[in-house]
Each structure stands twice: as C-alpha cells, then as structure tokens.
Amino acid sequence: MPTLLEVRDLTIEFRTKAGIVHAVEGASFNVERGEAMGLAGESGCGKTTTALALMRLLPYNGRIVRGSISFEGRDLVPVPEDSMRAIRWKEMSIVFQGAMNSLNPVQRVGRQIAEPIMLHEEAEPEASFKRAGDLLELVGISRNRLNDYPHEFSGGMRQRVMIAMALACNPKLVIADEPVTALDVMIQAQILDLLERLRRELHLAMILISHDLSVLADTCEQVTIMYAGKTMESGKTMDLFTDPKHPYTQGLVGAFPDIRGPRNMPEAIPGDVPSLISPPSGCVFHPRCKFAFDRCTKAEPALTELSVGRRAACFLYPQVTEVPPRPIAITEV
C-alpha cells in the first residue's frame, strides 16, 4: 500500500501587481496513514498556501508550477477540476483558522454539515441530517443545535462544528490550518484533545498547520519546518525538537519560552522574514543565519536525508548537496 500523501517538489506562484510571489518552492513531505504531521513556520512561509494546494483550491492568481501531490499513489496535480471535486472532502477535508469566517453565516450548521454528505454519498436529506447530528455529538455538541446559526455558537464551539463538518464524509486525511490560533489556551487544549481523540478512534491522518511550535510538539509525530516557502527540516517530533539540525529550526525552537523549563529569556533570530517576490540568493535563510558562510549566499542547499526519517537543507552538514539546476522559469514582468 502506498504512502497516503507524498508531496514532492511542490512549487506555487502567485501573480500580483507587485510581481510574482514565490509562495512555495520545492516543498516535500510525506504523511502516512493515521499519522499526524505538523507543518510549522512563521507567517508568510507558505503553510496555508501548501494546504490549499493539496486540495487544489488556490485562488485564481495562484498556480502550481511544478511538483507532485500523490494521494494514495495518484498524482493530484494533473487531475481535472471536475474529478478533483469528487476527491475533495471525501478523501481529504480541511479545517480553517477562523471558524467564524469559515462557516456560512446565513445557513444553519446542520445543513452545512449535511451538505457534503448529500453531495458525495447521494444520501437522502433525513439520513444526512441524522449523520450530521451524530457528528455534532461526536465533537461534544448536543444534536439539538443542528438548527442553530453559526453566530449562535462561541468560538470554541464553532471550531468543533468545523471539525464535525470535516469528518462528514469519513475522509482519510484532515488538514487543520491553525485550528487553535486565536482560541484561549483552555479551549485550545479542549480542541487539541478532541482532534487527538478523533484521530485515534477514526484512524485519521492529519496535517496540523501552526505557527506555534509548542502546539505541534504535543500533538504530532512528524514535523516539517518551512521558511520563506521552502522546507528547511523535517523529522520525528522528538528528534527535531530535542536536537534541531538546521539553524532556523534551532532559532525557532529557542524562540519559544518554555513554561516547564528554566526561566530563560528566549533567543531572537535577528532580521526580518524576506520578501517572497525577490527572495535572497542561495539559501533563503542566509541573511539571518549566524553560521552562514560564503557558499550559502551562492548555492541553494538541497533537502537531504541526514539520518533515517530526518532531512534538512543546510550546508553545515557535509552530505547536503546543491539543488540541481532547474529549468529556468519564464518570469513575466
């Protein structure tokens, strides 16, 4: 049986007035069945774009330039839009950041949950609504609230509704894009707990996207770190957090204060996130890297396996090679 999701060299561009935004360049990662993979990075590093691209939902000015997304061995990139629609929500579903904005404000939540069931399983309305009620109870909301509107729920409850909706068609993969950002720490714990429980019970694979490393540390088995649209490092959570290899990962891990650790001021990564329209030459992180040397400014390090399941893109590790030259993309002005 092939890997559930295998993303290779995914590259996405946006066309804007200011120029071409290289939102994601050469992102690669795997997600196994029933596994939780964390995708971490600061704002603008291409996490959400990657998530949208997995479901082929990029906005009209974005496009996948190259790379493959193979889901159960089938490459989704060339799949025509019509067939893609049948895959969406049935095979993989997504939970967005702002649950308030992700629910249609003028439609009852029951109908919104039942909608994909009716669409994909061609179920009768009654059966679909019954299942919607079951789903609500699964996430800890009384089924009496099927007929409520989104604005009648609190923030945490809305996120639960979103999760119930994501499970409507028994998908194999759930992408959760910042599912707990903007929620209070207690609600955050409740939601993460719920996601973990559901994952265990339903044997779901999950991609958890967050800017907050500590959230991922608690919940994921694998973590991929992105920076300026590129994958910097990936590996098992325990290894990656206890022994980060890439200088960016080291900086990021050090930037989070640890309530259970010593009372040390976290460390800063000097400088700012680079522009995605004209990214720095060579390794994108070199302007902010304290270990940067001559080669970093000229050549781009390839994502190379350092040990089993552990990959990083940094010339500090001798086995890392340069990125093979790619066909020059024609950039329009």
Binding site: T16, P59, N61, S275
Partner: protein, 307 residues
C-alpha cells in the same frame, strides 16, 4: 514595501516640513498609481477634453450662443457652417453645445463642492460626536434621503423662484449632500474604532486634534472619490432640471438645448443632432467622471485593493 529614498534630514525638522514631506510623497504615490491605471487615465482624458472645451469655448465656438446667426434663419437644418443647424431663434447649435460645456461643468463641480463640504462636515460631526447629536442629524439626513430627490429639487427650485446660476448650484448642492454625509459618517464610525485613534487619546490629544489629524486624513480619500462621483450626479441633476425648464434661463446648458429641441420636435423635422449631440456630451462627461471616480476609489481605498 517600496524602497525608500534616504531623505536628507537636517538637524531640526519643523512640523510644517514634516507634513509637507508626507503629503508630497503621498501625492507622488497616488499620481503614479493614477498614471498606471488604465481606467483612471481614460477618465482623466475625457475630463481634460471637456475642461478644454469649457475653458476655450470663446476661442473655439464660431458664434455666440445667445445671438441669432446673421446669415440664416431659425431652424436651419444641419450643414455647412452650422454642423448641427440653428435653433428656433436662429442661434447656432454647435456653438451652444460648446458653450454649454461651461455651465454643465461649472454647475456640476460647484454643486458637488457644496454638497461635499456640507456632507463631509455633517458626516464628520455626526460620526465623531455620536450620541444624541448623531441621532438627530442622521434622522434628519434619512428624511432628506428618503424623499424622492427630483421632487425635493423641484420644490426647492420652485420655492426659490429666482434661479440664477448660484441658485441652481445651491439647489443641487443642498439636495445632494445627504449621501455624502452618510458615507462619511459610516467611514468615521469605523475609523473611530481603529486603534490609532485610541493611541491619539492615549497621548492626550484633544478631540479636534484627533478629528483633524487622524480621522480626516484617513477619510479624505473616500471623500475625494465620492466628490468626483457627486460631480457626475450633479451634472445629471442639472440636465434634468434644465429639461423641466427649472434651470438657469440666462445661460445655455446641455439640458436646456435638449429641452428646446424636444419642444420643437427636433426629431421629426430632421434635426436629430440637436438632441443627440448635447445628450452624448452629458453621457461622456458623466462617464468620464465615473471612470475617474471609480478608479480613484480603487486606488485610494485600500479595502478594495485585494490581490
């Protein structure tokens, strides 16, 4: 994030200099954006053309608009030196159309100015002060808004009885401010909730300071774009009033030319241009203002600037 020229800074910076630097940089920025915006440029070209017609009317127009042409009689069919013919008094219609640009443009711009000034003042005060003052002003404003504008205008025009140019400008301006007031107020209400206004309070600014320094500059783009659209509406209003014989009697405007043509059945006597040409002028001038206004709104109002 554009690249910033390193500004040579002297030791002491006067507040005036600081403001001037800011304003000039903003104007340059906007000018550049207008220049690169096709819609805005199209609108601007139309507007420049009509402005030229209005300013240069004495030079371009072959005849005076309100004196009979010596060589031919009234209601001459188009042709020769009178491309659109002459009207019932024997005035040259071609010259009338050119001179009419002046009145239409003047009435449009000034009336919109009146409407914008009143509307902006009312909207700013109403939105910023809030409370019962806002309530009273907005109720009154709603009332003005909900009355059919044409009827209101006719009543005011009829009530004023004597309508010279100033009169018609006042009538259109006084009936047209309520939309501006409403737009400005809602903008002020949303600006008032912004954090930088709270910062203004935090540092101890007075209300007047906050209104002038924080609210107005941020509402200005919207007010400006709205004024441009109001000019278009004012031009239309003037033409309707003129058509109903309620506008200036001593000057020629496009609406009045159409009204005269209509009264003399220009279409049946083969003088279609008498009606069509001034109408097209109105349409294009208004079109120009709308294009420019819409494009400006897009440029100045970052809410619409989505990728």
């Amino acid at each position: 994030m554009g690249t910033v020229d390193v500004v040579k800074v002297p030791g002491a910076i006067s507040p005036f200099r600081a403001r001037a630097t800011v304003v000039s940089r903003r104007m340059q920025d906007i000018g550049l954006q207008v220049f690169h915006n096709k819609t805005a440029m199209a609108g601007l070209i139309i507007l420049l053309f009509f402005t030229f017609l209005a300013v240069a009317a004495p030079l371009i127009a072959p005849y005076s608009p309100l004196t009979a042409v010596p060589d031919v009689g009234p209601l001459t069919l188009p042709g020769g030196v009178h491309p659109f013919g002459t009207n019932q008094f024997g005035y040259d219609i071609y010259s009338q159309v050119i001179w009419g640009t002046q009145i239409s443009l003047l009435v449009g711009v000034l009336a919109a100015g009146v409407a914008s000034v009143i509307g902006t003042a009312v909207g700013l005060i109403s939105g910023f002060v809030g409370g019962w003052i806002d309530e009273v002003i907005m109720r009154f404003n709603d009332v003005v808004l909900s009355i059919p504008w044409l009827v209101l205008m006719i009543v005011v025009a009829a009530r004023l009885n004597y309508l010279d140019l100033a009169g018609i400008i006042l009538v259109i301006g006084l009936t047209g401010w309520s939309v501006t007031a409403r737009v400005v107020r809602s903008q002020v209400l949303s600006l008032k909730e912004r954090m930088f206004v709270e910062r203004g309070r935090m540092i101890g600014s007075s209300n007047a300071h906050i209104l002038l320094r924080h609210i107005f500059p941020n509402a200005f783009p919207l007010i400006f774009a709205n004024t441009i659209l109001t000019v278009a509406i004012s031009i239309l209003s003037e033409s309707v009033l003129a058509f109903l014989n309620l506008s200036v009697k001593s000057n020629v405007s496009w609406g009045r030319i159409i009204a005269e043509a209509y009264q003399h059945d220009a279409l049946t006597i083969g003088m279609a241009a008498w009606i069509i040409v001034p109408g097209l002028c109105i349409v294009f001038l208004v079109f120009g203002f709308y294009l420019f206004g819409y494009a400006l709104d897009e440029i100045l109002n970052p809410r619409l600037r989505r990728r």
